[in-house]
Symmetry: C2
């Protein structure tokens, strides 16, 4: 996966998750240093509409346009942050 | 919330999330230092059956017996870890 491409893709995510992966509000998860395989699993669950409740409405919309490469790159980017 | 009570409750969670909140496999999320409000939101979504896909079958079962106090204590415990 390409963390640099993930960083570019993450511009829109930064509003809630922060560019540094530290959430801008406690209801959103920190992503910095999270396991890439988990991040991919979560993004794919949102994309497939398998997560309801909480902020899932926002995340389902965010994940919808992502392809598997985007998802792998985003996961690589955020997991690479300390 | 009572992080100490959360630690006691977390014994069963440690199998996948680690007692230190560092996941034992990359498909599981690290929980150490995660935002407590997000952890509560995620646990309540699993408990309500609002999350499918990924490891949701395991987590739905784990969350089922938890009451709101347990959930608040677990969230306080894991968010308190560095």
């Amino acid at each position: 996966a390409d963390a640099a491409a993930g960083k570019a893709k993450a511009a829109v995510c930064a509003a809630c998750h922060g560019m540094d992966g530290k959430a801008t509000a406690p209801i959103y998860p920190n992503l910095a240093g999270q396991n890439a395989a988990y991040l991919e699993s979560a993004l794919k669950a949102y994309k497939a509409g398998q997560r309801k409740g909480g902020q899932s409405a926002i995340m389902t919309g965010m994940a919808a346009p992502l392809n598997d490469t985007d998802i792998a790159n985003l996961a690589a980017y955020y997991s690479s942050l300390k």
